[in-house]
Amino acid sequence: MNMRKIICLLSLLTFWQPVLADKPAWEKEAPESVADLLAIQKQVQQVLPKCMAATVTLQMGGSSGSGVVVSKEGLVLTAGHVSGKPGRAVKIILADGRELKGKALGMNGDTDSGLVQITDPPKDLPIVQYDKSEKELPDVGQWCIAVGNPGGLDKDRGVVVRVGRVISARSDTIRTDCMLLGGDSGGPLFNFNGVVIGIHSRISSRPDSNMHVSMPAFQSDWKALNDSKALGKRAGEGRPSLIRTWLGVYTEDHDEGALVLEVREDSPALKAGVKKDDIIQKINDIEIKNARALTDEVRKFKPETKVRITLLRAGKEKVMEVELEQR
């Protein structure tokens, strides 16, 4: 809490806060005025130069990803599926275009954390601080900045910056509404003080809902990662564990079950005739109380299992058979 007080105090000194002098704009529920938006912009642009300078492009064979330099000795945080097999050669390209040599250290195929070591770090290597929390996760709603090099380094474009908020944070994974692209993978998620709070991991089909590896996920494996160990069930495969069984609906909580917001293209749900606004209430005889329960229950089945789904459509109960698929 002390840290927060200091931040508040600092912002009080540095920024003009017309409405609530004790709370910076980015700690309000949502920005309420142009002044709030400007305060957010000012803070973002104050921390950005350092954040952008420390964000690097990683090249391994014919593929590329992003990473962030966090120590003068040349330690780079990235995603496990980017760094891949421990020991493999990695080329690190700094934001200013300099190319450095390095190698993959450890990775965790389940959480998707990964480390890379620059083997010839220059004296002026740009670095940023990272959150060393072992348990503490970012607050839901916290503002953040996503930086990355989607599609590899593009000197005319430079690194790409997005601003968003934390949607949820669970032990290994943070979800934000920062607009990410494949190839952003491994890039850093910063808080408004320019400290790394996550590493871009997986994109979802919703452009504004993407996943990042949490910092506690790095901390819990810190020694093993530094010792170039490949961890997790899918260790060394270069891919994080993915959810295997797929129904293909995007839902939210509803008093009577899980409300379907979207039915995915080519999904089992679509083939079975599930529609937007349906409320899913049961899978076989298992009651579905909310959106989370639906995901959990679907995952318990093996792909290609036929299940009965009971749902409410315009107030009427319908039962349909769905063959779950592998995704």
Binding site: V34, A169, R175, G183, P207
Partner: protein, 347 residues
């Protein structure tokens, strides 16, 4: 097809988590998100009025073909040219500003930047001031005019990359040159003709041996591809082929790579949903992250003072959007002033 292989590898790091992932209690309510209703209200305070005053919707008959922006009191509207390429010029209509629907007439086009200038045939107050994009940098808020029900609103995001030129991707004839080539062979062998593509429509067949483009001989695959790519989509070129003992000249109108080879999309493209068909080849663009659809192109981009700083021109992929800076628009408008005046004079 070397390019395709490379793309797939570059994008190996794209990961997808589908499945019914759920919003549980500990997640941020949608209204509080960056694209949520509360933020939209705040963005609206800045630019909703001006967005309503200058944003219009363009229709080809009854089919919506994108947005436009009124850029002068004389009722000149700028829009994305390729979106109305196929429209019958006599069927063009514009809804707005306000609730008025009227006929629109094409005054002139600027193919280089994919812009079209239209006349709505009445005086209107576009209600905006031109802004400057000089200080625009990473993290600067920008706001886009978008349709909202029967009227217009704004959505916000930040400028996300350097303002720059986007190089042309070039056109394609829609074949795969997977066979033999070289001087001794006497041309380049066509191994696949993309179904529905420009080459198929023009009558090219699998097994044809291409040896000349617009009268210039080409025997090497790479050089031939390079030559074709140097033309814009929409350009007609003459392709000479050997078929058995015959030699044929085939005229082919080049297509957009993304349309012709849709099955060869990169993983990112597949995750992107609909994008703008023409999304490369712009002299100068601002890049932003406001979540728009391809049909929102042609609409205005504002700064936090509500000044017009650009015209949205392309949805490049799922999260990257381009706008032509206000200064470019003003420069083109000046350059085209003569043509525009002439076209209006004929009225």
């Amino acid at each position: 097809m070397k390019n395709t292989v490379k793309l797939t590898r570059i994008y190996f790091s794209t990961f997808v988590v589908f499945a019914g992932f759920a919003l549980d209690a500990a997640s941020l309510s949608t209204k509080l998100r960056t694209d949520g209703t509360l933020l939209r209200e705040t963005f609206g305070e800045v630019a909703e009025e001006v967005a309503k005053a200058c944003t219009v919707r363009i229709f080809s008959g009854s089919k919506p073909t994108g947005l436009g922006t009124v850029i002068s009191k004389e009722g000149i509207v700028v829009a994305k040219s390729s979106e109305i390429d196929t429209a019958n010029p006599d069927s063009l209509k514009i809804l707005g500003p306000g609730k008025r629907m009227g006929r629109a007439r094409i005054l002139t086009r600027d193919p280089e930047n994919d812009l079209v200038f239209l006349d709505i045939g009445r005086q209107v107050d576009p209600g905006f001031e031109w802004g400057k994009t000089e200080g625009l940098t990473h993290g600067t808020w920008v706001l886009a005019g978008v349709p909202e029900g029967f009227t217009f609103g704004v959505r916000g995001g930040v400028c996300s990359a350097l303002t720059r030129e986007i190089k042309k991707a070039g056109g394609v004839i829609g074949v795969i040159l997977g066979g033999k080539d070289g001087k001794e062979f006497g041309g380049v062998e066509v191994t696949t003709v993309a179904s529905g593509g420009p080459a198929e429509k023009a009558g090219m067949k699998k097994g044809d041996i291409i040896f000349s483009i617009n009268g210039d001989d080409f025997f090497e695959r790479e050089k031939m591809i390079e030559k074709v790519k140097s033309f814009d989509p929409g350009t007609a070129i003459t392709v000479s082929v050997k078929r058995g003992d015959e030699e044929l000249d085939i005229e082919i109108t080049l297509g957009y790579r993304a349309l012709v080879f849709s099955e060869l999309k990169s993983r990112n493209d597949k995750m992107s949903g609909k994008m703008s068909v023409r999304r490369t080849g712009f002299k100068r663009v601002i890049q932003h992250e406001i979540l728009l659809g391809p049909s929102d192109m042609g609409g205005p981009l504002f700064d936090l003072e509500g000044k017009l700083i650009g015209i949205n021109i392309a949805k490049a992929n799922r999260v990257e959007f381009y706008a032509i800076p206000a200064e470019e628009i003003q420069r083109i408008l000046k350059e085209k002033a003569g043509e525009i005046a002439e076209a209006r004079g004929e009225n």
